[in-house]
Structure formats: C-alpha cells, structure tokens
C-alpha cells in the first residue's frame, strides 16, 4: 500500500513502538543467559530473547524502509536516546528473581499473542507478514510463561508467595498496554494498527483464567498505574539497559565485525 507523507511518519512511529518493546524485552531476557535456575530454562529464555530480537530486527528494517531517510535497523537500535525509545515500561523492568521475570513475561506474552493476531490482518501487508510470523513464536512463548505461572503459583508456599509479590509489583505496568493514544486511533482508522480496546477484554480473560488456575489473587485497580511510555516517559531502568546495550556503537561509531 502507498503511504502519503504524513501517514508514513505515523507508521514509522508505530513500528518503532513495537520494535522497541521486543528489543528491550529481548535484551532483558538475554541477561539470564548463563544464570537461569536450570539448563532447560537457560535455553528457553535465550531462545525467547532470540525470537524477540529477531522480530525487532524485522520491524526496525521495515521502519527504516518506511522512513526512507537512509537510517538502518542498527541506527534505530543503537543510536537513539532513552527518551526516543517508545517501549512499554513493563518490558524495561529489571529481571528481579525468576518469579518477577515470569510474571513480566506472562503479562507481555498474553498481550502479544492477541496483539499479533490482530496485527496480522493489517492493511500494511509487510507489517501483516511480520506479525503472522511472530505470532507462531509468541504462542510458544505464552505456553512457556503460562506453565511457569501454574508451576510457581500452585507450587510451594514459597514459590506461591514470591509469584504473588511479583504480580502485585508489576500490576501497575499492566494498564498501559491497552490505553490507545492518538497514533493508535489514526492507524486503526487506516486499518494498519490494532484496536487495543478490542484486545483488552480477551487479555483480562486469559489473566483471570491463568490466575485462578495458579491460585493467585488478581491485584485491585485502586492503585497507581504507569503511563506515558509511548510518549517517551520511562522508569530509570531503561537508561542503564541502553547504556550497556549501546556502549560499543557509542564508543566506536560504525564498528562492525
């Protein structure tokens, strides 16, 4: 589909949001490599990280092509400041203990499967193709996170309490996954983007069912909820993550090997 100048900029911003989610979460998961509680989990988390970073690469490539100003996927990943990143605050949260990582992953994966199902119908066919491919991977990721939610939640007293703490601590980052802004609305009208409100109710169902089976309590809504990440507002954790991820390109611009 042919995009006019204005729409091209909007699609570029939209692609960055969803590429940034995947790059930042993929980087977080890669921090587990060599440190996971068991061998199988080390492989699983590294594999999921690889899928997410691969998806980010495809989205950044499409973003660079859509922008058409000669930037590459590497420029977008390594040469932007924290305030230029548009990822959700959820995905930049530190790994914490294994329960924190699983809770963060469950919230994201359960959203991601529903999001990608809708995105695979996008009128921007190249984006739809990337989404259809990523969806196959996201389904595996969700099953992995769900299994661990059950195992830890309905496990020992210790594992149950720790996972319950994790979901309470991360709950404040769960709302903004589904709060559409102007850009979302424009792209829904153009049939390019996803109607987040339509995804929200299915997500609530997945969460309610999994929590019930895992014997976890769903935190209440009478609390602070994070917002603004799509506009470049982040927690302090993103800056440290990017500093580590970007150090090579920042120190030796253009370095390749």
């Amino acid at each position: 589909m042919e995009l006019n100048m204005e729409l091209r900029g909007q699609v570029f911003d939209y692609l960055l949001r969803h590429a940034d989610d995947r790059l930042v979460l993929g980087h977080r998961l890669s921090e587990w490599c060599g440190h996971a509680p068991m061998m199988e989990e080390d492989l699983a988390l590294a594999n999921i990280a690889l899928d997410l970073i691969g998806q980010a690469t495809l989205l950044y490539k499409l973003a660079a092509k859509t922008e058409g100003s000669g930037r590459t996927e590497d420029d977008l990943a390594f040469l932007r400041e924290p305030s230029e990143f548009r990822n959700l605050q959820l995905v930049e949260q530190p790994n914490g203990d294994f329960a924190d990582t699983i809770a963060r992953q469950f919230f994201f994966d359960s959203y991601d499967v529903l999001f990608l199902e809708k995105l695979s119908l996008s009128a921007y066919t190249e984006l739809a193709g990337i989404a259809a491919k990523a969806l196959k991977e996201a389904q595996y990721h969700l099953r992995h996170a769900q299994r661990w939610m059950l195992r830890l939640g309905d496990g020992t007293e210790e594992s149950h309490n720790r996972l319950q703490d994790s979901v309470v601590n991360l709950w404040c980052f769960s709302k903004e996954l589904f709060v559409p802004d102007n850009l979302d609305q424009v792209l829904v009208t153009e049939r390019i983007g996803v109607d987040l409100k339509a995804v929200n109710s299915s997500w609530q169902e997945t969460v309610t069912d999994t929590f019930r089976e895992a014997t976890l309590d769903i935190p209440g809504d009478e609390q602070y909820f994070a917002s603004g990440s799509r506009g470049g507002y982040h927690t302090e954790h993103l800056g440290f993550l990017l500093a580590e991820m970007q150090v090579l390109q920042r120190t030796h611009p253009g370095a390749i090997w």
């Binding site: 199988e40 989990e41 492989l43 699983a44 590294a46 594999n47 999921i48 690889l50 899928d51 997410l52 970073i53 691969g54 998806q55 690469t57 495809l58 066919t125 190249e126 739809a128 193709g129 990337i130 259809a132 491919k133 990523a134 196959k136 991977e137 389904q139 595996y140 099953r143 992995h144 769900q146 299994r147």
Partner: protein
C-alpha cells in the same frame, strides 16, 4: 544442471544431514543467462543460521559459474514445517531428531511424538526450547534417552 540442483547441495548449517531446499526454505529461483535470483523464507525471526544459509547459496551458485547472484527474503506466507519434504523428515529421524508432525496441535500438551531411537510413542516434553530455535527437548519413557524434536510451526 539447473540452479535448483546447485542449491540442493547446500546443507542446513545447523542440521547438515538435510539441505536448504528440502527444508522448505527456498521459495523461488529465477534464472537468466548468467544471473540468478533466489527467494528464501526464514524459519524463525531470529534464526542465526539465515546469514549462513544466504552465503552458502551464493557460494554454491558462484562456484557453478553464475556471475550475478541475488538473494531475496520473503516473509509472508510465514515458513511452516509443512514445507519440509518426507525425505528430509526421514533423514532427520535417522539423525536422531524427531521430525515435526504433519499437523500441529495447539495448546499445552500437543501431539504425541515418537522416539527417533526406539520408536516408542511414550515420550515426554522436557522443554519447548532446545539447542536451536526450531527444536524442543523430549525424553523417551521406554529407552530413557533424551532427544530433540523439530517442533511443528
């Protein structure tokens, strides 16, 4: 020999007993006098073998005398294990990797997968993630051997 025949000599870098064509990675080959364009579909978004596959295909065609080789990547329709040929499935099994099922089951549990070593259907999933993005880890309840399963996507 056509360009297809040369590409068939390129092994999958992760599982060298099978070639890139029988794994369903090569979509299209267009040949003109001394130029050839090959369209490939990546297996997983982050599969690190794709760069190796591209350079393998390029090298085999250059060696065969094609002066200009272009590799294009096509993402849609997404790669599926249904494109793996029967012959390649048999080679995977003989290599000790349980081939993907013809039809994917969704949800937790999935299909029963036969042990590639003793043939028993009594096998258990250890992890949906293995040494490469495309494989899961299983263990056979009968011969007690752990083995890899090429997962169905």
């Amino acid at each position: 020999m056509s360009a297809w025949d040369y590409i068939r000599s390129v092994p999958d870098p992760e599982i060298p007993v099978v070639d890139v064509v029988s794994m369903g990675i090569v979509r299209e080959v267009e040949e003109t006098l001394d130029c050839v364009t090959v369209t490939i579909t990546p297996t997983y978004s982050g599969c690190p073998a794709m760069a190796e596959i591209e350079s393998g295909i390029s090298a085999s065609l250059h060696e065969a005398g094609y002066k200009q080789v272009e590799i294009k990547t096509q993402i849609a329709p997404a790669w599926t294990t249904e494109w793996i040929t029967d012959e390649a499935r048999e080679k995977l099994r003989n290599f000790g990797i349980a081939p993907p099922e013809r039809r994917c089951a969704s949800g937790i549990g999935g299909n029963s997968v036969a042990c590639p070593l003793c043939g028993s259907e009594e096998t258990r999933l250890m992890s949906e993630f293995g040494s490469t993005p495309c494989k899961a880890l299983r263990v056979c309840q009968n011969c007690l051997q752990p083995f890899e399963h090429f997962k169905c996507i």
